[in-house]
């Protein structure tokens, strides 16, 4: 049992609140991603779970036991830092084994564990190197190895991919997903990147200004965002928000239309629109439109999209795809 249960957590620095009324339960073996713009409190929440910062109020239990009084090392967690935080004067081997020496693990046991984890991560050949002699991706793996070797109940990741370049980020993302499957451990992962959050999470937690905006599976959150902030935060290109008369037709203050749910037809039904700009991306194209009825719109089109004639077209969308929001920006079910 290694579920994490958080109730009514708050963290305040004097007058300013970094976290306010945060409740969240992560089931055993679940991959939970905390996502939000910078300054939303996601890293603070992770550090409180790790025991590196103290909550102002609220309760926290890990694996069914109250964790608030426990030191980080006794919570059964392991953390992977954004900066990797490898000990610069120790080899990769020593980095991975250093913590175990204080856990009453015998020397041969330590050696076996380090070597099997290194094998699993493909860093067996690098164990004698110091961090300065490793590339960014290799450091990343050593940092993950150091976490695995402790055999923790809960893994905590603090934006572990943000110091890697785009190509490495995609492959490392996959590796983390594979690792989660292989280890079956509970993982809590902080990121500001929506693609990472969507692809890794079993449970996605969208945060803003120290509060949780929505919790759910990635597809739930994407398809039924709780409010305008969540709708706008997820999805690329950004969701189209339409207000005014058209929204009123649906009994809402504003409606959200995902770019992939809009269809263009040369004429006939739908709303008249004119192509303003086309962004070709190779695999697809983003078409920027202006419609008198709907305002500016973005639409995803196949890569061979081209404007014919004077660029006057008609936009249609299925009624069932439309997201409805009230005047406070909250979703109408």
């Amino acid at each position: 049992m290694a579920d994490v249960d958080i109730k009514g957590l708050a963290k305040r620095f004097g007058e300013t609140a970094a976290l306010e009324d945060v409740s969240l339960s992560v089931a055993d073996g679940e991959f939970c991603v905390l996502v939000g713009p910078s300054g939303c409190g996601k890293t603070t929440l992770l550090r409180i779970i790790a025991g590196l910062e103290t909550e102002t109020e609220g309760s926290l239990s890990i694996g069914g036991a109250d964790a608030q009084a426990l030191a980080p090392a006794r919570r059964g967690i392991a953390m992977v830092f954004q900066s990797y935080a490898l000990y610069p004067h120790m080899t990769a081997y020593r980095n991975m084994s250093f913590g175990l020496k204080f856990q009453k693990v015998s020397r041969p046991d330590i050696d076996e564990r380090v070597r099997s984890v290194a094998e699993m991560l493909g860093i067996s050949d690098l164990l004698h190197r110091k961090p300065a002699e490793l590339s960014g991706g290799q450091r990343q793996r050593v940092a993950i190895g150091r976490a695995i070797v402790r055999n923790p109940k809960v893994f905590l990741f603090d934006e572990p991919l943000s110091n890697l370049d785009a190509a490495l980020r995609a492959t490392t993302r996959l590796e983390i997903a594979r690792l989660h499957k292989a280890l079956g451990a509970t993982m809590i992962y902080v990121t500001h990147d929506q693609a990472e959050a969507m692809t890794l999470a079993d449970k996605m937690v969208v945060m803003k200004d120290g509060r949780i905006e929505q919790i759910g599976t990635p597809l739930e959150v994407y398809r039924k965002p709780a409010n305008l902030f969540v709708a706008g935060f997820l999805g690329h290109p950004k969701i189209n928000i339409v207000t005014g008369a058209i929204a009123a037709e649906y009994g809402a203050a504003s409606i959200g239309l995902r770019p992939e749910h809009l269809t263009l037809s040369p004429s006939g039904k739908g709303y008249a629109a004119r192509v303003v700009h086309v962004e070709p991306l190779g695999s697809e194209a983003h078409v920027h439109l202006r419609s008198d009825a709907l305002g500016p719109l973005i639409l995803r089109a196949p890569s061979d999209f081209s404007v014919s004639g004077d660029g006057d077209l008609h936009v249609t969308f299925e009624r069932t795809r439309v997201l409805l929001f009230d005047e406070n920006g909250n979703a109408i079910n």
Binding site: L52, P72, A78, H89, F98, G99, F102, Q103
Partner: protein
């Protein structure tokens, strides 16, 4: 071509500086191997067959407690160094890494120690040492020198520790490394260049100090080398060979310590522990 010119310029430059800095020391060492006449006839000449003489060294070894003075100086310097490094790094780490009540006050108290010269308190210190019965003991000197060296040491260490990323200590905490081991096994190795720097800063003034040995420990058995050599000048006021020989000898241990420490400093810097 530019590279070569640059190398040349750097070397000429370093050479000029080295000569300027070393000239007085070399002059003393050179003249210590000359007879009295040789010294006065031409103090800038190298010892020749005619003027060469080890009479100074012979007299120094024969007439004085030289070895005792050396031992005293070494004990005082080394014990102080060790204490300053141990307590200094601990204090700096505590000030850098933990938030506790009075943290700022302790920091300011130490800063005051940098700004107010300890000699201002000489009378009070002498009073205190007399009441404690520590006059004419090496312990008195060691205590005073620790108080003298600690504030600067804490200041320099703090500067270096500010460069140790916070995440390192946090990672070790998650790893279950006890707090003292974090200090000993993670922080200390990373600030090794600072340790050597501080040691050099602290060591030289202590070795050369005349003030406190004269006031707190002027007795026969507790004289330091610097104090010893001065007394010695009084006794053989005209025997320059002996004075110069004693001064030359007094430079040797500090030179050895300095070389050892500076090698450590350079190694630390080139390894780039923190980068």
């Amino acid at each position: 071509m530019t590279t070569r010119m640059r190398l040349w310029a750097v070397h000429v430059m370093l050479l000029v500086y080295a000569v300027l800095a070393l000239a007085p020391v070399l002059l003393i060492a050179m003249n210590s191997f000359k007879s009295r006449k040789g010294i006065f006839r031409d103090p800038l000449a190298l010892p020749t067959g005619e003027t060469f003489s080890t009479v100074g060294y012979e007299r120094v070894f024969a007439n004085s407690d030289l070895w005792l003075w050396f031992a005293n100086s070494l004990v005082v310097t080394v014990v102080t160094l060790a204490a300053v490094v141990v307590f200094g790094t601990m204090a700096a780490w505590a000030l850098a890494a933990y938030r506790f009540r009075g943290r700022l006050v302790v920091g300011l108290f130490l800063a005051l120690g940098i700004m107010v010269p300890i000699r201002l308190g000489t009378v009070a210190i002498l009073d205190l040492m007399t009441s404690l019965g520590l006059t004419n003991t090496l312990a008195a000197l060691i205590l005073v020198y620790i108080a003298q060296g600690l504030p600067v040491a804490v200041f320099i260490f703090s500067e270096f520790m500010a460069q140790v990323p916070r995440d390192l200590a946090d990672a070790a905490r998650c790893d279950g490394v006890p707090e003292f081991r974090i200090y000993a096994h993670i922080v200390l190795p990373l600030i090794r260049p600072a340790i050597a720097t501080v040691a050099i800063f602290v060591m030289v003034p202590i070795w050369n100090d005349l003030w406190f040995p004269l006031i707190l420990a002027p007795g026969e058995g507790t004289r330091t080398i610097t104090l010893g050599v001065q007394q010695f000048i009084g006794q053989y006021v005209t025997d320059w060979s002996a004075v110069l020989a004693a001064l030359t000898l007094a430079v040797v241990p500090i030179l050895v310590l300095y070389l050892a420490l500076s090698r450590m400093m350079v190694r630390g810097l080139t390894e780039g522990a923190l980068r």
